[in-house]
């Protein structure tokens, strides 16, 4: 459905570009959830904005690579041009639903507006569709909520409204950028459940972006781990958690408190991610990697297919086996 090839997003002048996303490639199929996981500043949000055609202007730009949606190259098209050209549809939801909603308009009107744009209907039919969408996202008491204002809803309900608005265009691809990070865990699990249900019911491809390995394990079918603008490991969710092959993936999982209950000290990944612009030759993770050798610092690591559908950007990958 969605296929991204060698996507490179850069900041700064043409002559000396700083790559904040460097040669990222992935595919998301219909009815599949791809989890894109990484720490802050790793370029995961920039990737999603570039795929969506929503990079802030002026600022970062797509320097190389292609975004192919349903067989058509849409890399250089604005979202509205994509819709007009009939190239399939994408929608996006964000971390903070409150800032994406107009505080002085009723929920029903805001959803109906999205319906009006995509279905070319207005008035009662649009409101009826808005109500349908609220039912689809399992909003309690949807008929009542149509006339509510955003401030009258809780955080979880507002995120449901944002999902309803995103679904108004009947997207083939839904990009979710940390949609549950601002929510409490008992609410988060409800929203994750909803996305999983919608993915199957509407046969959408979902690109789910998060920093939380736990959320990835619960939701994703396949996982792409991102570090310093590069995807360092791609695999099915069971493979990533069962036998991570990249040292960074392993480190990320090892230092999760929930896996170390009762341990005296948490294993850590020493240091911190490199700032864009300071990246030199060799593997980007080498300065923090306990297993780094001389050639890791000198030459770019190869992308190795360790098994069917399991790729790792490392010259000396871990040899499998579960994490400690």
């Amino acid at each position: 459905m969605l296929s991204v090839r060698d996507l490179t997003v850069s900041l700064g002048p043409e002559t000396a570009p700083v790559d904040i996303v460097a040669g990222v490639s992935f595919d998301v199929a219909k009815g599949e959830i791809l989890g894109l996981v990484g720490e802050s500043g790793c370029g995961k949000s920039m990737t999603s904005l570039a795929v969506m055609g929503l990079l802030p202007q002026p600022g970062p730009r797509v320097r190389a690579g292609r975004v192919v949606l349903d067989g058509s190259d849409v890399t250089q098209l604005q979202p509205w041009q994509r819709v007009e050209a009939g190239h399939g549809r994408m929608a996006m939801i964000f971390q903070e639903p409150m800032t994406s909603l107009n505080p002085v308009r009723r929920i029903g009107d805001q959803i109906a507006e999205a319906v009006r744009v995509h279905d070319q209907v207005s008035g009662a039919p649009a409101l009826a569709r808005a109500r349908e969408l609220l039912e689809l996202v399992r909003m309690p008491d949807p008929a009542m909520q149509l006339s509510a204002y955003p401030h009258q809803l809780s955080g979880g309900q507002r995120q449901r409204v944002m999902i309803a608005i995103a679904l108004a265009c009947r997207p083939q691809v839904l990009i979710a950028d940390e949609p549950t990070t601002a929510l409490d865990v008992t609410i988060q699990i409800q929203i994750l459940g909803l996305l999983r249900e919608l993915c199957g019911r509407l046969d959408m491809a979902i690109l789910f972006i998060t920093h939380d390995m736990g959320v990835i394990a619960q939701l994703a079918d396949r996982v792409a781990v991102m570090y310093a603008g590069r995807i360092v490991e791609t695999a099915g969710v069971d493979a990533v958690f069962g036998s991570p092959r990249h040292h960074y993936t392993r480190g990320l999982m090892d230092c999760m408190p929930v896996r170390n209950a009762g341990a005296h000290r948490l294993p850590t990944v020493s240091g911190q991610p490199p700032a864009p612009g300071t990246i030199r030759a060799g593997c980007v993770f080498a300065p923090r990697c306990a297993a780094a050798r001389e050639e890791c610092r000198a030459t770019d690591p190869p992308r190795i297919a360790v098994s069917q559908g399991h790729q790792v950007l490392c010259a000396f990958p871990l040899n499998g086996g579960g994490p400690a």
């Binding site: 802050s40 309900q157 865990v185 609410i187 920093h211 619960q218 069971d238 408190p257 929930v258 911190q272």
Partner: protein
């Protein structure tokens, strides 16, 4: 207060007046919380947003005035005593804040921020003493002493949080109230900062009130835990016991909702929407009744009180468990 307790909070109540849609509401953020902290212990306070855990911490360090109950520090009722006793407590009970970006003044150097408590209370003998103390404190939190002359914008999130911790341990306090100190950090940095806090607790013999929404972090660092919901403690006990055998239906839901990093234990399906009641419209009985699978008629009218439920200070506030 037992003899080895360093801090005891009795029946603490804190409320705010909030204005919403032109009407004034009284929001009871903390509604009768009692807890004690033994010397050298880490007590975890866990709960979701709006449960009153942050307000509880702020009341203990004196940032908000309680409207009922008392906070006693080493057998002194410091809040009531005021003056010198209150000042001594201020230096002895310190806070680490959540947001490492907002908690340091952008116009002051790291050294000035770290030395602030000492400067306010005049504990440094002279400038050399001051610089030496700043340097040794920065070293203790794993920062190079040269950071003293830098400004916050030159530091990463993890380094800023280390500076925030340094500010809370100069001069060395007895109690540190840490309000979500690692929730704004990336996992790999989070682990480093958690390790640092555990080390400091041991080296400086600190007692700690560790406030977090994250049961994983709480399970890592605290020996006892209190679970809060809508301003009240609903369950309390040794961390391992509470996490492995939760009694209160809310604790169970909270633990079940943690996304476990294990794809074989997926719990996702269609889950019915259910959210806590609004702080402005507090139910008459148990605040959790509307979401609770065990709720009975009694729960709707009668607020369950925290009662003892076994060894190791285990306590529970539920009619039906």
């Amino acid at each position: 207060m037992s003899s080895d307790d360093i801090l005891a909070v009795r029946d603490l109540k804190v409320s705010f007046t909030a204005r919403r849609a032109g009407r004034k509401y009284r929001v009871q953020a903390v509604d009768g919380v009692s807890l004690s902290l033994a010397e050298g212990e880490v007590l975890g306070i866990v709960g979701e947003s709006g449960c009153g855990k942050t307000t509880l911490g702020r009341a203990i360090v004196g940032l908000v005035q309680p409207d009922g109950g008392n906070i006693a520090f080493k057998d002194d009722d410091a809040i009531a005593a005021g003056g010198a006793a209150l000042r001594a407590m201020r230096l002895n009970v310190r806070m680490v804040f959540q947001d490492p970006y907002a908690s340091l003044n952008p116009r002051r150097t790291i050294g000035d921020s770290v030395a602030e408590a000492g400067d306010i209370n005049g504990i440094f003998r002279d400038r050399t003493d001051r610089s030496a103390m700043i340097a040794s404190t920065l070293t203790a939190v794993g920062l190079d002493p040269s950071f003293a002359t830098r400004y916050p914008y030159e530091l990463s999130g993890g380094q800023r949080q280390r500076a925030g911790i340094a500010r809370a341990i100069l001069p060395t306090p007895s109690v540190v109230v840490a309000d979500e100190p690692v929730s704004a950090l990336d996992v790999s940095v989070q682990a480093q900062v958690l390790n640092l806090m555990m080390d400091l607790r041991e080296q400086l013999r600190l007692s700690m009130l560790f406030i977090s929404h994250d049961l994983g972090v709480i399970g890592q660092i605290s020996s006892r835990v209190a679970v809060m919901y809508m301003g009240r403690i609903v369950e309390r006990g040794a961390t391992r016991t509470v996490l492995d055998h939760p009694l209160h239906p809310y604790t169970r839901a909270l633990i079940a909702a943690i996304p476990k990093p294990d794809p074989s234990k997926r719990i996702l399906g269609a889950i019915e929407a259910s959210e806590p009641p609004s702080l402005f419209k507090r139910p008459a009985g148990c605040a959790y009744a509307a979401r609770c699978p065990l709720a009975s008629d009694r729960c709707l009218v009668d607020i369950p009180q925290l009662r003892s439920a076994g060894a190791d200070d285990r306590a529970l506030a539920c009619h039906n468990v």
